[in-house]
Assembly symmetry: C2
Homo-oligomer: 385 residues x 2
Amino acid sequence: MRYPDGFEFELLHTDGQARLGRLTTPHAKIDTPVFMPVGTQGTVKTLAADDLETMDARIFLVNTYHLYLRPGVDIVEKMGRVHGFTSWPRAILSDSGGYQVFSHLGRNKITDEGVRFQSHFDGSYHDFTPEGVIEIQRRLGPDIIMSFDECVPYPTTPEKAKIGVERTTAWAKRGVKQFEKLEADGSYPSQLLHGIIQGSVYGDLRRMSTEKLLELDFPGYSIGGLSVGEPKELMTEMLEVTLPLLPTDKQRYLMGVGYPEDILMAVERGIDMFDCVLPTRNARTGLVFTATGPYNFRNAVAAEDDRPLDPDCDCYVCRRYSRAYLRHLYSVSEITAHRLASFHSVNFFIRMMRDIRAAIKENRFIAFKDQFLSKYCENRACSRE
Amino acid sequence: MRYPDGFEFELLHTDGQARLGRLTTPHAKIDTPVFMPVGTQGTVKTLAADDLETMDARIFLVNTYHLYLRPGVDIVEKMGRVHGFTSWPRAILSDSGGYQVFSHLGRNKITDEGVRFQSHFDGSYHDFTPEGVIEIQRRLGPDIIMSFDECVPYPTTPEKAKIGVERTTAWAKRGVKQFEKLEADGSYPSQLLHGIIQGSVYGDLRRMSTEKLLELDFPGYSIGGLSVGEPKELMTEMLEVTLPLLPTDKQRYLMGVGYPEDILMAVERGIDMFDCVLPTRNARTGLVFTATGPYNFRNAVAAEDDRPLDPDCDCYVCRRYSRAYLRHLYSVSEITAHRLASFHSVNFFIRMMRDIRAAIKENRFIAFKDQFLSKYCENRACSRE
C-alpha cells in the first residue's frame, strides 16, 4: 500500500527491542510508545475533550461498531466526521468493530462474506463485510483505521484459529482493495489503514497471519486476539513470535492491552501503541491505578484518609482531592467520583508512557521497568514481576 | 447579635429596590445579587470545584442534613471542615436541614423540642434540635449558616402556618443562644448566622415572623417556605410584605429560588442571594437554560444540529460542543452529557447574575429585565412576562 499523505512514522531510538518513535498524522504528532484512551461511543467515559488535552493525550480511540449503531454514520459524517462531531482536533483511531461483533456470540452469523449481527441496542440486524467496514471508517474519518478481522475467542482449537487467520487474511485483502477504490474517489480524508494479525495462541498461525499481511504491505500493523483471557505467558510468546517479523519502520499496535505490567512487557518486545478500557472501567468501580499498585478508594479506611489517591501523582485530581472526599462522593452516588477517578487513572497511563519514553531515550528501559514494577507490585503478587 | 469577624455586607448601589452589594466572608468576596449553585452532598452534582472556579462562582451551598448523615460531622470536621473536605477555598453556605427533615413527612415527628426523623439512607433515627443544628453547622464550618426552622408545606392552614412561625421564632432564639455559647468557646471558625423567615402565604404571619426575628438582630436574613408549590403571585406578595421590613444594610437570601423569571422578580424587590437545584437537576434530564428559554437537547431535531446549546453563550461547553454531540452522549448514556449540560446551565445563572449586577450599577435594571424576559419568553408563555 502507498503510505498515506500527511502521515509519517519515525523510529527515533531503540533500547534493546524497546522503541522510541513518533507517529505523525494530519491531526497530531504522537510520541510512541503511546497509550490511547478508549472513547468507545465518541467520548472517553466520564471525561471531556479538555480533560484529555490537560493530560496531553494526542490520540484517542473510537469504536466503529458503536458509532455505526448510534448515532449512525450519516450523522457523524454530516457533523464533520469524528473530529468535528467529538470536537477533538487531535488524532483519532477507530477499531474495526470485529472485536465487538465477535464478542456478542450467539447473536451473530459469520460467513466468509462477513458477519450478520444483531444490535445490542434494539435487536435490529446488520451486516458487516470487510468492504463495508472500510467504507464506514472512511466516512467516519479517524486518522487511523483497522481492517475487518475475525477475532477468535479464547480458548479455541487450532482448526478454528486457522479458519480465523484465513478469513482475516482474505478480509484484509478485500479491505485494502476497497480502501484503494475509495482513495481513488478523492472525497475522503487521508487515512492510515492497519492490518490486524490474528492466530490465537498458536505461534505457527501468528507467523502465517503476519506473513500474509506483510504481502499486503500495510503502513502499520495491529496485533489482535490477545488479552482475551489467555495466560500471560502465551501473550508474551505470541509477541515474541510476531514482532521480529514486522518491519522496523512501521508502527505496531497491541490491541486492548492492558495492565501496566503487560504494557511494560510489550514495550520491551517492540510494541508502539496500546489501548485499554481498564483505567476508566476500573475507576467507575472505585479502583484506581497508583505507583504502588491498584487502590480501591471505596475501602472503609479511605473515609478518614486525607492523602491523594496516589501520593506520587501530580495530576489535578491528586493535587486537589483527598481519598476521604472521593470515597464520600462515591458512597453517595455522585458521578463526579467516577470522573475524578477516571481522570487520575487515564493520566496514570499517559504519564507512565511518558516515563517509558524518557527511559528508552536514555537507554535505561529495563532499569525503569524493574524499578516501576518493584514499587507497583510491593503490596501484592504481580504476574509480570 | 454581634456581626462576626471577617464578614462584611456593603450595599453599594440601588436601582429602585434592586440592590448591588458585596458580601465579604473570610473565604471570598461575593458580589450580590448572587446565585449560589447547590452542592447538597458536598459537590455540585456532576461538576468539580475547578468547574465552579471557571465560572467564577464565589460561593456554593451544602446541605446540613445530607452531610450530617453521610459522611457524618466527625469526618468532615477531621478533614478540615467543609472547605478542606471539599477542597473549595472560597465561601460556602449551609442550609439548616429544616427543609429536608420536613419534606420527608410521615417519617418525622415534630415537637416544640425539635424533630425526630428517619434517615432516607438506612432508616436510622436521628434528632435535630435548634441547638444541635447550630452545633452541627459550627463543626461543619461553612461561612454562612442557617437557623433551624419549621418549613411548613404548601398548602396549609393559617393555624398550622402560625404554629410554624412560633416554632421557628422560638428555635431561632435557642439557636442564637447556642451559637453565642459556642462562639465563646473559641474553637470554631468565624461564621455568619441567618434567621429564616417563615409564614407560608399569609402576609400577617410573614410580618410577624420578620418582626420577631428582627428582635434577635441577625446579621442576615433568609426567606424560607416559598417556591414550595404556591402560585407565583403569592410568592411576589410575600416578598412585598417582608422586604420593606428588613434592614437595608444586611443581606437577604431567598431560599430555593428559582427560575430566571423568579430571580428577576425578586431582585427587583430587593433580594441579594439565591440558590436553586434547577440548573443541575434539569440538565440531567437534557433540559438546559438558554437566552431564548429552556431547551431540551434530547429532542430528535437536535441529532443533526451543529449549533451550541445556546448560541448566545460563551461558556466552554457552548464554545466547543454541538447539540448533536450532546444529544448523542445523552442517548448512549454517557454521563459526560450530564456534566456538560450542568456546566452550561449553572454558568447561565451565574452569568445572568453578572448581567443583573451590571444593569443595577447602570440604573437600567428594569430595562434589562424586560429585554431578558422578552427574549427568554419568545418561544413560550412565561409566567413573569
